[in-house]
Amino acid sequence: MSTPAPPAVELRAIDKSFGPVHANRSVSLSIARGSITGIIGENGAGKSTLMSILYGLYEADSGEILIDGQAVRIRSPRDAIAHGIGMVHQHFMLIDTFTVLENMVLGAETGPVLRPSLESARRELERLGNDYGLRVDPDAMVGDLPVSEQQRVEILKVLYRGARILILDEPSAVLTPQETEQLFRILQALRDRGATVVLITHKLREIMAVTDAVFVMRHGEVVAERRTADTSSEELAELMVGRKVRLELDKTPPHAGAPALVAHGLGLRDSRGIAVLDGIDLTLRAGEIVGIAGVSGNGQSELLEVLAGIRPPTVGRLTIGARTIDAAHPAGPAEMRALGVAHVPEDRHRYGLVAPFEAAESALLGYHDKAPFSSHGLMHHRAMVDHCAALMERFDVRPRRPELRSANFSGGNQQKLILAREIAAQPRILLVGQPTRGVDIGAIEFIHRQLLAARDAGCAILVVSVELDEVMALSDRILVMYGGRIVGEVAGETADERTLGLMMANVWTPPEAPERQSTAVTAP
């Protein structure tokens, strides 16, 4: 293999805009055949857009795509598949009510009648299982499989279509560290047999662990190209964010007061009976920020939902002031608010606001039946608008137009409005999920300062974030979640990324409490 082959993929000056958002700006890169190439960048850096263009989900406004040195036009996934490109999406493209085989053949059938397709897929599945260690029961319903096996089905689908170029979009987001390791072994096996793998991620560790080369994207542009062997996590991190990674906040020491919220043995089962929260013990004190770190999907979202009253706990209890909440005595979101719990939800579009509502209306979501907005069964428009205008002023929401539809504000301004709404309610307990997701850098610092100010005013704050630096910068105490349990606690000022990382992967054994590891067994 010493002849100089053309690169498997070459992108030349790819440009793509969605309305005013310039997602990709003249991106050029080339990916060597038989390599694992990483594309790294923050959320919103344009990685997924770029790969979606390569896979034909979007068409570039301008630019050129070359596959094996040949210029091609990719207008749909069909074209991409025909050129040997396959993509494993972040959100799986699987049919839950189909078997593994049916999912594999969908779109790659050999003829109008199904049986021969299924038979050839069964043989191929056998072969791929042997070659790459990708083993799945061909007749299992995909909906019944665990997430890691579903991802395997996705990879099998791509391979079954004869893909030589595999794009994986944030594949580890849904995996445990062990499963991620397994995945990487599979990717290496694929590379060793000549496949080209493109790995989109925002996790430095993965880039360093598995790739041969890496492109760094920022604000829609490729800002650097490195051979993995010649770079370091630190350098990549700086290139990614264009600033020092460490978020520095000049923080005063906390004055933690009385417990505002105490959770005892809190547990939650999902509709399939699987424990997604298990034995959570947690105390939030007035005047402190407690951060929750963890790989996304380890129960953080569910914890927020239980604490906010969106879902009642199945076991355990929660005490706020004189009120004790358990499965038999649940408290809904309205009662939680009355108890002084405010909640900035993780997903602002899904929960935080009502897109077609005026900003003034969204600015009192959850407080719409409280004075001064509402009395004697009527709402008071003037009070709503004044309130919203005041929030906009205080939290620098732009434009300052309460009558504008909520959807017409940018993500950062929406987030500021929601935060303003919840802080203005002067809660005793503030739950914040992903405080700065999709928020531009200027607004991040502003939001962090507001949270600190609320803390200093005596509010008990719980912050859940997938951004480890954010958790570290904000928190007075950090709890680490893994598999629905709290597996470790670290004081904010002594926290270091390594320890936290080990805890998040649940491979760190605290010397003082070695028995913690063995309590993970779930009840029937």
Partner: protein
């Protein structure tokens, strides 16, 4: 996401698009009229003359309008809660049953001042109950409200036929109708009321119920946009997750929204049974429930729009009757065709005109250089 599209000016969204859609519907109607050999403009002239040309006609038009307002509001209230109530027909039917039962039972006992409000309440209660069952089944049992309300229309029809044929039929009567109510159970006709203040108007079925319709419009507007329940209802309609987050009880809101919707539809029974027929009979709903969908869609689910749309439908209904009388080639069902086309163009095909107008305004916008503050909102 909002994407990069320039939002349309409010007057285009609220005013122009519905008008364009309605116009498109009428263009198609015109072609159909033309295809059966009638000059559409002649037809329009006859219809307008026949619906607003003389006092009796206006009376008839407003009487039809009253029914359209009720069913239009009924559909709109449910729409705002994100629910599609196709059961207006059945709810109106059962609402009329409520009116009839109260009047048959109490018309000899109670004075009009007690009897009439009681009958109105019965219409609301029966209509609400008939809508509340599908609401309950969706909220608590997960069945789809569209399918259930359709089924409930048929069940209502069967219940009414059974009751009228076997139970409520007037003794000795050949047709399935109840006995006529006593005088306290008749709502005064408009021509009677106007005669009381010295204005003479030809006889028409228009009666006091139109006042109830006007009150309902005002109350629905107040409820939806100026009460916390209305806020909660609209929140649920736009974003059920946000409603849960806000502490709004989705199940109870579903019940409330459908209950209100059913009560409004039930008022058709007041107009028909207590206002016009003065006896319980079959098929008095005559498609008003379904027409309510057209009214709500055309009126953009806003009471003012619904009043305007109802007036138009009232004109069509009355004018259509005159038209069928004058031109034998055209039948009253032409009105049903128009309803169907309006639902098609204002509802199902609503997305066809909007992008075209958006493109047009985008083009106009880029031509004029002044960029309003909406640009800043995207930043």
């Amino acid at each position: 996401m909002s994407g990069g599209r320039q939002p349309l000016p409010a007057w285009v969204d609220i005013g122009l698009i519905p008008i364009v859609n309605v116009l498109l519907a009428f263009v198609v109607v015109g072609l159909i009229v033309l295809s059966i050999g009638v000059n559409p403009f002649t037809a329009v002239r006859i219809m307008i003359g026949g619906s607003v040309g003389y006092p009796e006609a206006i009376g008839y038009t407003l009487y039809y309008t009253t029914n359209f307002i009720f069913t239009g509001l009924a559909v709109a209230v449910a729409f705002h809660a994100g629910l599609f109530n196709i059961g207006g027909e059945g709810q109106a039917y059962i609402g009329g049953l409520g009116v009839g039962l109260v009047l048959l039972a109490l018309d000899a006992v109670l004075p009009p001042l007690l009897l009439v409000p009681l009958a109105v309440l019965a219409a609301a209660a029966f209509g609400a109950a008939w809508a509340a069952v599908p609401a309950y089944l969706q909220a608590w049992r997960g069945s789809h409200i569209v399918i259930t309300t359709i089924m409930f229309n048929f069940i209502a029809a069967a219940v009414m036929v059974y009751l009228m044929v076997n139970v409520l039929i007037a003794p000795g009567s050949m047709s399935p109708e109840s006995r006529e109510f006593a005088a306290p159970g008749h709502l005064p006709f408009a021509h009677e009321l106007l005669a009381g203040i010295g204005i003479t108007m030809g006889q028409s079925p228009l009666n006091l119920t139109i006042v109830l319709a006007a009150i309902c419009c005002a109350l629905v507007w107040l409820f939806l946009w100026h009460t916390p329940w209305g806020y909660a209802l609209r929140t649920m309609g736009h974003n059920p997750n946000a409603a849960i987050y806000a502490g709004i009880d989705i199940r109870r809101m579903t019940l409330l929204a459908m209950g209100l919707s059913g009560a409004l539809a039930g008022f058709v029974g007041v107009n028909e049974i207590m206002g016009v027929h003065h006896r319980l009979l079959l098929n008095f709903t005559a498609g008003y429930g379904f027409a309510g969908i057209a009214v709500a869609l055309m009126g953009r689910n806003h009471p003012i729009g619904i009043v305007l749309a109802s007036l138009l439908f009232g004109i069509l209904q009355q004018g259509g009757a005159e038209l069928a009388f004058d031109i034998p080639a055209i039948t009253r069902e032409m009105v049903v065709v128009i309803q169907g086309l309006i639902i098609l163009f204002c509802g199902a095909l609503a997305n066809v005109t909007k992008p075209a107008l958006e493109a047009l305004f985008q083009w106009l916008h880029t031509r004029s250089d002044n960029a309003p503050a909406a640009d800043a909102a995207e930043a």
